[in-house]
């Protein structure tokens, strides 16, 4: 096949679309920035793409709550197309505000296999996305721009984090504290390999508990969760910005470390591009 076609959704305050498009291009994809209203009008339709990406930004200014109003828009105008895309088993990613959107829409973490596998093995019915986790105000009560060490969870099913043990990326958010509905939800996510990325120390260890974990865990996320995936590993969301580390010169200490060329963040996008290429074989 040719290069996988990637829809980078734009509009209403999304703002990390240019660098995300460039990151996908560096990873070997064929990105196209598409305004949400054009997707709703199906000019072009989501069905024309192999990967869907919801970039970071401040959709609707984070008003009411981050990602909520944009999620509401998707739910009432694009839910069917999104459900079809999920049925087509194509990779989707939501970064920062995009992650908040997918979580509030309930696409992430999505129905767990245990609750949908009642005989059919099919995912829950289209449009039946239910929100079971949330991303809310940082414990610090403020927006912060801060680089974080992250560790890939070995048991993660996410095709996006394959082979990633450690990665260094910035967070830039005020509402990134991950909270599952209850302990069972978290346990199920762990059990199903849906926890993909966690905040850690520069040595890869857990940042500690409570206040002591700050700023390594920059927002107070439960279990230091920074990124989760759907149970099939195709849909992935994370608060840190891999597209903000697309070039080595984005790294805050690149001079001292002598870094050159591509940034670490590209690994995540290359995983998805390679996955699409692999499944087309």
């Amino acid at each position: 096949m040719g290069k996988p076609r990637i829809a980078i959704i734009t509009g209403y305050g999304i703002n990390s679309d240019n660098e995300l498009a460039h990151s996908f291009a560096l990873a070997g994809g064929d990105p196209r920035r598409v305004h949400i209203n054009d997707l709703i009008a199906r000019k072009p339709a989501l069905s024309e793409f192999d990967i869907i990406a919801v970039p970071g930004g401040f959709s609707f200014g984070d008003h009411i709550a981050s990602g909520r109003v944009f999620a509401n828009k998707l739910k009432h105008s694009l839910a069917e197309d999104l459900a079809k895309a999920a049925d087509r088993k194509i990779p989707m990613i939501g970064i920062c505000n995009g992650f908040q959107v997918l979580v509030k829409l309930g696409i992430l973490p999505g129905a767990a296999p245990a609750t949908v596998a009642q005989g059919t093995g099919e995912p829950a019915a289209s449009g039946a996305f239910v929100q079971t986790t949330t991303l809310t105000y940082n414990d610090s009560g403020r927006f912060e721009d801060r680089w974080c060490h992250l560790s890939g969870v070995p048991a993660s099913k996410s095709i996006w984090t394959r082979g990633i043990e450690r990665i260094y990326l910035p967070i830039r958010h005020g509402e990134g504290k991950f909270i599952p509905k209850d302990a069972e939800t978290l346990a199920a996510l762990k059990r199903n390999g849906q926890i993909s990325l966690r905040y850690c120390t520069s040595a890869g260890e857990d940042p500690g508990e409570g206040q002591a974990a700050y700023p390594l865990n920059p927002n107070g996320s439960v279990d230091h969760v920074a990124g989760i995936s759907s149970s099939d590993g195709l849909i992935f969301g994370l608060m840190p910005h891999p597209e903000a580390h697309m070039l080595a010169t984005n790294h805050p200490q690149w001079q001292k470390l002598g870094l050159k060329g591509e940034g670490e963040g590209i690994r995540i996008f290359r995983n998805a591009v390679d996955y699409v290429r692999g499944s087309a074989l």
Binding site: Y12, H35, G57, H63, N72, S77, Q131, Q253
Partner: protein, 1012 residues
């Protein structure tokens, strides 16, 4: 029908806003924990629209509430649900009618999406915030909390309920925020009286801010036979309409015409020598750029457009502009500052054919947040100004998706009367668009006038010259604007798309002066047959936020988030269609003409017809006097140094507000959205060292970059504004050079913020203040020419005073100098942090006894007289050589010496690198003609054009060969330890050891003051 929905947290653990408020009340307001033990926040949405019960339920559940962490109540109160005892005082805050309610607007759009139907214009959502406090607080305490922390009475209302009141009547009113006032818009004729007194009174009463000479010029215009004949023919009254007077007042305002910079000035210097200066702008600023221009072929558009434009690569240009938003920030610091940043973003969007904002810069000047004297009436405490201005710029920049890459915060208690809020933006755009150079733009007669973006309300009418007493509960708030970054983001996405499709011929922003200003300027750009353009505007076609605006108000309203376009008639349909698809409101307001008239119609009837040449060039010039008398300040006593504990002084200096770490504030800005960052505001081992300059890489696949930096030292104005300006300029340049920029590739932006320099009853010292302005301009000319540094854009704000008589507070004369320039290869840039133990530490540049107005003297209550001076010739040689050394990869770190002198620079180099150093001041390069300097002077003098640099030992020889003949020397070494050890070999005592300071103690001092 009003529906009230409350949303609160299920558990206090997710109420981080309440925690933050509680912490502020404990720490800043001094409330004890017993007095305020608990707080909770609730969001309040008032829906003014017809809804069924099921719809209300869906809106509350699906749109407004997070199912995991929140709960809601519809037409009921969460407080009641919690039972009494949940609070002792409840405070609810809402906006006054007409104030921009961004959350309300997004909620409205969400409701429309959820219900699957468009809402009517009158269907609206108003938002409020409720705070519940538990503790032994009194009603007076609650009032304090409401007015000093939670609400700004200028734009917000609040109500307070005690526990007892709530028990007796557990209900809060449903309040519509709709603007309700009965007014039939009309055009009035204003008779111009005969006498000067009456003319001046008219100007004052109508807040026209016109001088008597200007009023006379207007009277003469209307009295002329030509004008009379024209008006009779056009069916207009002989006397001016209110629309015409307002347009003239706006066009001739100091803000738009820069009358002081254009004035004829008779300047007398300290020797009594007299000089006539015809326009400071032409004589110094424009002249400097013209002189430098032959050496700067990369200049494209200077001073004429909304921003300066320079070439970046063959295919791309960059633009930059910096603005101030001081008065609005004094009144409503949040809204004022946010409007400042989103306003300057629009300047970039309106530069050339439209430039995409790629970075913001911000510089604030405040009084100390720890100011403990009484606050004059109508002013906010500087701590509140600081927090709210910061929040406004943070929200404005972050929500717009534009990284804040460079800035600073300057403290001086004279900024109590007027904080200074400088906001800058850089943009990127294709050099050629549709076959034409994109920095050029024209308008043809017949082109349509399009306005796109937000709607017009009474926001910002007459800028900030209003009196807050004029505000009442039911009247729309007319003076304060709150930015709406999301409406603007939609507008800017649309604009760039329309630009690339060639859907318009000209674009500019609506800022100060509103449509009157933007269309007046555009009419001027229209190429009529006679060479003079014009426009015909239909004011009733402009979309309004609410009915009842008079035509003149529509014309001069400064409602935000609007751009004006000239659209060729054959592109009109495509322009409107794209706007519709992008959810942007665009309106066709009329057409540009070639008849030399600025005309406005209301309901089909001509309401304004002014000759373009009179409108733009009819204002009389100011004639002003300036006289310079240098001040003499006291010096410290002769035995001063003998009594000083230099270690204690050095650590205290790290806690000076102008030197200490601003990390906790700056980290709240997004520094790197758009993915271009190469050098961020924070650098070093733990990313907490303050970088000298920002470097961005606008084109991801190219190595070229842009450097951005600035200089600002208002305290030097206490001695001489000539040197204040020279030092600000030098600081900006050396900051850029410190990361690897080269002089000759840099362009400058000048932003003057001055106290009123026009002599008058209330400004008896006007001649001195004007002389200070003259001297600052002379320095700008001298150093721009010496450095080969063209000025590309600038702005002045000339009335930064508060009050009258002995209570008057004037800001110190302040120049912010910003530089932007091209870097050939970003991969060769360096940062300020020490990189490795064993590296050699050098100082470049001469250290002189220049303690005058230094931070060190300031801390001890002295001003002194030896203000730092810039030796341009030797500085320029040094800068070129340093650029060579960095390009050759010889240098590992470079940091400029500025506030606090050499000690601060070395301390920051060590702290950022988490490395120690051993330094011997005896080796410091010093002027040959000067005697030995005391160690304190060496450490704290603020001599300009100096750097602290580190390099690997193997590069010593190459480096020293490069700098032969220039003032430099090795003064020590970077160590792996955690101490900064400072000696002065020439000192007799204790083998020269002056002190040794640990990184930990330096960090503690440096972080303490502003780490909140």
């Amino acid at each position: 029908m009003l529906t009230r929905i409350e949303v609160g947290q299920k558990s206090p653990s997710t109420d981080s806003q309440a925690r933050k408020i509680l912490a502020t009340l404990h720490e800043t307001f001094g409330f004890s924990v017993a007095k305020l033990e608990k707080a909770a926040t609730v969001s309040v949405y008032t829906l003014e629209m017809d809804l069924e019960g099921k719809e209300k339920e869906r809106i509350a559940r699906e749109l407004l509430t997070d199912p995991i962490t929140e709960r809601y109540a519809i037409d009921a109160h969460l407080a009641a649900a919690a039972g009494d005892g949940s609070f002792d005082f409840l405070i609810e805050v809402g906006y006054k009618p007409g104030v921009t309610d961004n959350v309300g607007r997004s909620s409205r759009e969400g409701i429309s999406d959820l219900l699957g139907r468009p809402l009517a214009d009158e269907d609206q959502v108003f938002t409020g915030r409720q705070f519940q406090f538990r503790g032994t607080l009194t009603r007076a305490d609650a009032e304090t909390i409401a007015t000093k922390l939670l609400a700004n009475p200028l734009i917000e209302t609040y109500l307070i309920r005690s526990k007892q009141e709530w028990a007796a009547f557990p209900s809060l009113p449903k309040t519509s925020g709709k603007v309700a006032f009965e007014h039939k818009p009309e055009v009035r004729t204003i008779e111009l009286p005969e006498s000067d007194d009456a003319l001046q009174r008219l100007s004052d009463e109508k807040v026209l801010a016109l001088t008597i000479a200007e009023m006379r010029a207007i009277k003469a215009y209307y009295a002329s036979a030509e004008t009379r004949a024209h008006r009779a023919l056009a069916g207009l009254p002989a006397e001016p309409t209110d629309v015409e007077l307002e347009v003239l007042a706006q066009t001739w305002s100091e803000h738009c015409k820069h009358k002081i910079f254009a004035a004829d000035i008779e300047y007398t210097d300290e020797t009594g020598k007299r000089e006539n200066i015809s326009s400071l702008y032409k004589t110094y600023i424009k002249a400097a750029t013209e002189k430098v221009r032959p050496k700067a072929p990369w200049l494209k558009s200077v001073f004429t457009d909304n921003a300066g434009i320079i070439a970046f690569t063959e295919e791309w240009d960059v633009s930059m502009k910096a603005e101030t938003h001081n008065s609005p920030s004094a009144l409503d610091p949040y809204g004022g500052a946010m409007t400042g940043i989103v306003g300057v973003n629009r300047d970039i969007l309106g530069s050339g054919m439209g430039s995409r904002p790629i970075f913001n810069t911000d510089v604030f000047c405040f009084a100390s947040p720890f100011y403990d004297k009484p606050i004059p009436e109508k002013l906010h405490h500087p701590r509140r100004i600081f927090k709210e201005v910061h929040r406004g710029v943070k929200d404005g920049g972050n929500e717009s998706g534009i990284p804040t890459v460079n800035g600073s915060i300057v403290f001086d208690d004279r900024f109590l009367g007027k904080p200074l809020v400088f906001c800058g933006t850089g943009g990127l755009h294709p050099a050629v668009l549709n076959g034409m150079p994109s920095w050029q733009k024209t308008i043809e007669p017949g082109d349509r006038i399009l306005m796109a973006g937000g709607r017009i309300g009474k926001d910002g009418i007459h800028g900030a010259t209003f009196s807050s007493a004029a505000l009442t509960e039911a009247s729309p708030t007319s003076a304060v604007q709150i930015g709406d970054p999301i409406t603007q983001k939609k507008l800017s996405d649309f604009l760039l798309e329309a630009r690339d499709l060639g859907l318009y011929r000209f674009v500019t922003d609506n800022g100060a002066g509103g449509l009157s200003s933007s269309l007046g300027e555009m009419a001027r750009e229209t190429k009529g047959p006679s060479g003079i353009g014009g426009c015909k505007i239909h004011l009733d076609r402009a979309p309004l936020k609410y009915a009842g605006l008079d035509p003149w108000e529509i014309l001069v309203s400064e409602a935000q988030e609007r751009m004006s376009f000239a659209v060729p008639p054959d592109k009109l349909a495509a322009f409107l269609e794209l706007a519709r698809r992008r959810g942007v409101e665009a309106s066709d307001l009329g057409e540009f003409s070639g008849d030399g008239l600025f005309e406005a119609y209301f309901q089909g009837k001509l309401a304004c017809s002014l000759a373009m040449d009179f409108l733009h060039d009819g204002n009389p010039k100011l004639h002003l006097k300036a006289r310079w008398t240098p001040p003499r300040h006291g010096e410290p006593p002769a035995n001063f140094w003998a009594s000083r504990d230099l270690k204690a002084d050095a650590l205290a200096l790290l806690s000076a507000l102008n030197i200490c770490s601003k990390e906790s504030w700056v980290r709240q800005y997004d520094h790197e959205v758009q993915g271009m960052s190469v050098i961020k505001p924070f650098v070093g081992e733990k990313a907490d060292g303050p970088s000298d300059a920002a470097v961005v890489r606008p084109l991801y696949d190219r190595k070229e970059g842009l450097v951005v930096s600035h200089g600002i030292v208002p305290r030097y104005s206490d001695i001489d504004c000539y040197h204040m300006a020279a030092c600000a300029l030098d600081e900006a340049v050396r900051n850029a050079v410190a990361v690897g920029a080269r002089p000759g590739t840099l362009a400058g932006l000048d932003n003057f913020c001055w106290p009123d320099p026009v002599e008058s009853e209330n400004t008896p010292d006007g001649q001195i203040k004007l002389a200070q302005l003259v001297r600052a301009n002379q320095a700008l000319y001298d150093y721009c020419v010496a450095y080969g540094l063209p000025l590309i854009s600038g702005k002045d704000s000339m009335k930064n005073d508060y009050g009258r008589g002995k209570d008057k507070i004037s800001v110190p004369p302040t120049l912010l100098f910003t530089v932007i320039g091209k870097i050939e290869d970003v991969e060769k840039t360096i940062t300020m942090d020490a990189k490795a133990a064993g590296d050699v530490l050098y100082v470049l540049g001469l250290t002189r006894d220049e303690m005058g107005a230094s931070e060190y003297f300031r801390q001890l209550g002295f001003t002194g007289n030896s203000v730092p001076k810039v030796d341009a010739v030797s500085a320029l040689a040094l800068y070129h050589r340093l650029a060579d050394a960095i390009e050759r990869g010889l240098v590992r770190s470079a940091h400029d010496c500025s506030d606090g002198g050499l000690f601060t620079a070395i301390a920051e180099t060590c702290m950022a690198g988490r490395l120690g150093a051993k330094v011997d001041l005896a080796a410091l390069p010093a002027a040959a003609d000067a005697g030995p300097l005391p160690p304190g002077t060496k450490l704290f003098s603020e001599s300009q054009s100096r750097f602290v640099i580190t390099l690997a030992p193997q590069n010593r020889a190459a480096f020293e060969a490069l700098f032969a003949g220039l003032p430099f020397s090795s003064i020590g070494q970077v160590t792996s330890g955690s101490d900064l050890e400072i000696r002065d070999g020439s000192s007799s005592a204790g083998a020269g050891l002056i002190f040794s300071a640990g990184l930990d103690e330096m960090f503690a001092s440096w972080r303490r003051p502003l780490d909140w």
